[in-house]
């Protein structure tokens, strides 16, 4: 290595470290803040705490409402994923396997959802959910969430299904297997990679969703964790250490989940974008 090389490398790593500290410092202060007294946060936000106070974390972990919020989010997100995958894959299978009059038109219709943001229809959605009588129930979040995820799911599923070998279907059909059974027995099991990618994507969106639950959920018993967190923040406005402990406890599962499903998350979020 030449000297120029070394200097350039030092500059490179130095710059990366500066950006990394810009990224990590707020998160570090958050995690540590949950262990400090409020007076200590005010004087030294980034230092290690004088004494590690576990009581703020402890009081949240022992609060049944905290688990209630997480449980609600988990239930809502899981059902939204299941609904999106089954309903979306079924429709995409028809578009991939069965040619019929109007199929292209219906396909384009279902893709319209890709074009506009969730928020455009949030008020009529609120009215509709209220009139159906779903307000303040899990379904008020699950159904719209799944409906808005359908467009992307159908687009990605159809592309994938079309690449499955056609001979497989013909062989299965000779053995007396119909379209619907083939879908359950072969198409779905063979499509786990794309199901996982879309599933992870919908799960993350639903888990983090704030606007929709904010509009359609009223009672604390039904709150998802982002609503619960804002509620908690409102109750302890000046006690940052409690809020910071709460935030930390919610971002830890997110990071663990990301590390576990990294492959699918990065593929789902950037893969589609790069391929256009």
């Amino acid at each position: 290595m030449t000297r120029g090389h070394i200097i350039r490398n030092i500059l490179r790593v130095g710059f990366l470290c500066i950006v990394a500290s810009f990224v990590l410092a707020p998160m570090l202060a958050t995690v540590l803040g949950g262990f400090k007294t409020n007076a200590e946060i005010r004087t030294s936000a980034f230092a290690l705490p004088d004494s590690w106070n576990w009581e703020f974390y402890g009081s949240i972990v022992s609060d049944p409402m905290f688990w209630r919020y997480l449980g609600n989010s988990l239930l809502i997100s899981t059902l939204a994923v299941v609904l999106t995958l089954i309903v979306g894959a079924a429709a995409a299978y028809v578009f991939a396997q069965i040619r019929f009059f109007g199929s292209r038109m219906l396909f384009s219709y279902l893709l319209l959802g890709l074009m506009f943001p969730f928020a455009t229809a949030i008020l009529p959605l609120f009215i509709k959910v209220r009139d159906i009588g779903l307000l303040d129930t899990y379904w008020a979040v699950i159904l719209p969430q799944a409906a808005f995820s359908l467009s992307l799911a159908i687009l990605l599923f159809r592309t994938f299904f079309e690449q499955l070998p056609k001979e497989l279907f013909e062989a299965a059909y000779i053995d007396g297997c119909g379209y619907v059974r083939f879908f359950w027995r072969f198409t779905l099991p063979l499509s786990t990679p794309i199901l996982a990618t879309v599933g992870v994507f919908v799960f993350v969106q639903s888990w983090n969703n704030f606007l929709l639950p904010l509009v359609v959920l009223n009672s604390r018993e039904a709150f998802t964790w982002p609503l619960g967190m804002m509620q908690f923040r409102g109750e302890f406005v000046t006690e940052w250490n409690r809020t910071l402990a709460f935030v930390t406890l919610t971002i830890v599962p997110a990071i663990v989940f990301f590390l576990a499903a990294q492959k699918y998350i990065v593929a789902g979020l950037t893969g589609g974008a790069v391929k256009g």
């Binding site: 790593v13 710059f15 950006v19 990224v23 990590l24 707020p26 958050t30 005010r42 980034f46 609904l83 979306g88 079924a90 429709a91 028809v94 069965i98 219906l106 279902l110 959802g113 074009m115 506009f116 943001p117 928020a119 455009t120 229809a121 949030i122 008020l123 009529p124 609120f126 009215i127 509709k128 159904l143 719209p144 409906a147 808005f148 119909g178 379209y179 619907v180 993350v204 888990w207 983090n208 704030f210 606007l211 509009v215 982002p226 967190m229 804002m230 923040r233 940052w240 809020t243 910071l244 935030v247 997110a254 990071i255 998350i265 990065v266 979020l269 950037t270 893969g271 974008a273 256009g276």
Partner: protein
């Protein structure tokens, strides 16, 4: 003899084709409707209704009867807070295009090669993106808190008077944009990294043999090769700017004195919380038109590209 076998075969295949057809219709009738119903009920109908409600003065109870024509749209267009919200949205677009994307590109160029250290940096830069917006907003409202937060602690250690950026009319939105860059640059960087990794190594090697310097390779080989990814990420930034909501609520809630609203927080604050369903729907329609415009430009762009 031979012909009868052939005809029997033909009729067998004919039978197969017919029953396939029948199976087809049944399958389509079982598998397609759930998606159509769900999508129509919770996406297309509300969208259509927002266009309808936009012409009424309606608080959401009973049926809309007070038809007001274009009045909602006129009131929105003349409302200084809405104008501010649009300006803010444009500011987010500008900061994304001129600060966030160049930063993301620079970082991508520095760490796109597959080495363990690069993988670590990539992971670090991507972490803010996987956090929920509300969590990111809360973390930064703690950072910016001049009374009890990080700002207070920094001001104290430097011996200066603490400041309250989120309560400052002129600076609050700068703080919001900082958080947006922090949250999303990693996403754009990941798009560029994926694209840079698919640029053929031979191209870069060839340029190097020809005597091209590092910055020339970047300028004339790598950037043209990932142009597609750059355009895609720009569109993501614009569509994203139209939807900013979650991050504002914990940070400023639109304040101080309505200086930091975006289109969606405006819709929420002036449409939903005051139950002005007609007025809020009109904001939704405006947002819808903006999104459609962006989508049309996007398609135009790629159709032109595929033709040339």
């Amino acid at each position: 003899m031979a012909t009868s076998v052939a005809s029997r075969r033909l009729s067998a295949s004919e039978r197969l084709r017919r029953s396939l057809n029948n199976g087809r219709v049944t399958a389509a009738l079982i598998l397609l409707p759930p998606a159509l119903i769900l999508f129509t009920l919770f996406v297309m109908l509300p969208l259509g209704e927002s266009v309808y409600y936009a012409f009424f003065n309606w608080n959401g109870y009973g049926t809309p009867t007070d038809y007001v024509g274009m009045e909602n749209f006129q009131r929105i267009a003349g409302h200084s807070v809405f104008q501010k919200a649009v300006t803010n949205t444009l500011k987010i677009v500008a900061i994304s295009l001129f600060l966030q994307m160049p930063l993301a590109l620079l970082l991508a160029l520095l760490i796109y090669r597959k080495t363990p250290t690069n993988a670590l940096f990539r992971l670090i830069f991507f972490v803010p993106y996987i956090l929920a917006e509300v969590a990111a907003g809360l973390i930064w409202s703690f950072v910016f808190d001049g009374n009890y937060g990080v700002t207070a602690s920094i001001a104290q250690s430097m011996g200066v008077e603490s400041f309250f950026i989120l309560a400052d009319r002129d600076w609050a939105f700068v703080a919001v944009m900082t958080v947006i860059v922090w949250k999303y640059f990693g996403f754009h960087m990941m798009i560029y990294i994926a694209a840079l990794q698919s640029v053929p190594e031979d191209l870069i090697e060839a340029a190097r043999i020809e005597g091209a310097k590092r910055h020339q390779i970047v300028r004339y080989v790598q950037i043209p090769q990932i142009k597609h990814a750059l355009v895609v990420s720009a569109f993501f930034a614009i569509i994203g700017a139209l939807q900013v909501f979650d991050i504002i609520i914990p940070l400023t809630n639109g304040g101080p004195s309505n200086q930091t609203h975006t289109i969606v927080t405006y819709l929420y604050t002036f449409g939903l919380t005051r139950l002005n369903i007609g007025f809020g729907s009109a904001v939704g329609v405006i947002l819808f038109i903006a999104a459609i415009t962006v989508a049309v430009f996007y398609q135009r762009f790629f159709m032109n590209r595929s033709e040339t």
